[in-house]
Amino acid sequence: MIVAAAREIADGDVVFVGMRLPIVAYGVARLTHAPNAVGLFECGIVRYAPAGAVLYTMGDPPNQMGAAWATGLIQVMGQLQRGRVDAGFIGGAEIDRFGNINTSYIGDIAKPRVKLPGSGGAADIAAMAKRLIAIMNHQKRRFVEKVDYVTSPGFLDGGEARSKAGLGGGPAAVITDRCILRPHGPRKELHLASVHPGHNVDEVRGHTGWDLKPLPGLAETAPPSRAELAALHAIDKEGVWR
């Protein structure tokens, strides 16, 4: 899942790196196919090379040392609004067929069944990055027809709804532990683009809360290469995030 996420970063991309797994994915990309990527962290850090030790949070000392820039949140998140961020990475608790992500409330806002931590910077990244990549565990309760609350906007009700709301960009890929989903067609609904080795279409559909359609040319995700695995081990030496 982390390797598949890392592959979404192109060399030279300016990448907005969200909490937790995205930090590892950025490091893997940087050490393999994207040596010229630039990483932006909302606490106020810009990095070229990934941190020299495992990070539990983006503000940990190894992410500060040798940073390209240690500054304020506004200087970094302002780059999103300025249109200078190619790709943004976020996680999520609940996602729907149009790539809208909920990390705020399950159930009624006034009396939620589950109160989730909230947006952090995810809503900003989803709204303003040129392409959004989401990383999530693939379970039926998380992949739903319609999210209860749109924390981080995807294509909203589909079609042109997102641009009508005043937003560019939008989801480019959803990386799960089973597969990769991508938006497709005029409605911009998420379709199954590739299935990871050891998983299959029926299983993926069974764990998805809407009628998930495969993309023409559906393939198996390429297994992690030796170089990608080596990079993953180098970034997460202690296996904290695997």
Partner: protein, 307 residues
């Protein structure tokens, strides 16, 4: 200049009252003033509006302790652990009491504090368009960009001017002039937006040390109400160049706070039965020493010579 050095209990009791709006942690994951979080709980100050973009488990602790009526923030939980159990109990079951959430994203909260810091009536932003945050927090307004020919929706964010901001810094002098370095999150916007500022200084230094590098000053001392000398006052959060993050502490908290009783046991052990920060340091003992960054990686000399 006035000597502003105060013990933490007096700094809090003299500058924070029930119902106040208070910034507790402005740098997201690092530099969270946990020593102040604990002291506020010990003093039993209630009805607070806690303002923080993220602040790791600090907000969750305050909620569980019954100090919080409102949360103005982007994220409440446990960064390496996941969900905030006290936050969940408060919002799902009203335990120990109801909490009103003023939903924000990091950037919308940043704009609110920026507006507060500089006296702007509001700030327009493009973010949170399309997000339900703009709907569930009634403080926001939708508008059209008056300078744009084509229709261009924006969200207007009103200013926040908190009663108090409690901000950890690496070093300060007794007058409140302080250096802060590493990622800054919203620390400067918070310092300038708040009516009053308390600094938790990891080290107290002579005034000449701060004056030697004015570009590294967070805010000048005339804007500071009190300075507390609290080495490791941000524990378990990290502080650039000084302290590593105590990951185990966050993990343990996450595990035991899963139940209300577990949290109350934790609260007794780590807050209520610990009289002050010195006792907290003593309780942590070797563990705190092990988190201390002992290496040096100094910045190049920065000269302000005039001739």
């Amino acid at each position: 200049m006035k000597d502003k050095l105060l013990p933490l209990d007096r700094a809090i009791s003299e500058n924070l009252g029930p119902g106040d709006a208070v910034v507790l942690g402005a740098c997201l994951e690092p530099d969270i003033p946990f020593a102040a979080t604990y002291e506020i709980i010990r003093q039993g100050i209630g009805g607070l509006n806690v303002i923080a973009p993220i602040s790791d488990a600090s907000t969750d602790m305050l909620i569980g302790a019954g100090c919080v009526a409102e949360v103005t923030g982007a994220w409440v939980g446990n960064v390496s652990g996941g969900l905030g159990h006290n936050y969940r109990r408060a919002l799902e079951d009203g335990e120990p009491g109801p909490v009103i959430v003023h939903d924000h994203s990091n950037f919308s909260l940043a704009m609110a504090l920026l507006a507060g810091a500089h006296g702007m009536p509001y700030v327009p932003l493009r973010s949170i368009l399309g997000s339900d945050i703009a709907r569930s927090n009634p403080a926001f307004r939708r508008a059209e960009n008056p300078f744009s020919e084509a229709r261009e929706p924006v969200v207007l964010v009103p200013p926040l001017q908190p009663d108090l901001a409690v901000l950890p810094v690496q070093r300060a002098d007794r007058h409140g002039n302080a250096h802060h370095w590493g990622s800054a999150g919203l620390i400067q916007e918070s310092a300038l937006a708040a009516e009053k500022v308390i600094l938790l200084a990891d080290e107290i230094v002579d005034a000449e040390v701060i004056a030697s590098d004015p570009s590294r000053v967070l805010i000048p001392g005339y804007l500071v109400a009190a300075v507390c000398h609290l080495p490791g006052g941000a524990h378990p959060s990290p502080m650039t160049g000084r302290w590593r993050r105590d990951n185990q502490f966050f993990e343990d908290y996450h595990r035991v706070s899963r139940t209300r009783d577990g949290f109350l046991d934790w609260l007794r052990e780590w807050v209520l039965e610990v009289p002050d920060h010195a006792a907290y340091q003593k309780k942590l003992s070797q563990r705190l020493d092990d988190l201390r960054i002992t290496g040096t990686a100094p910045a190049a000399i920065t000269s302000y010579a005039v001739a």
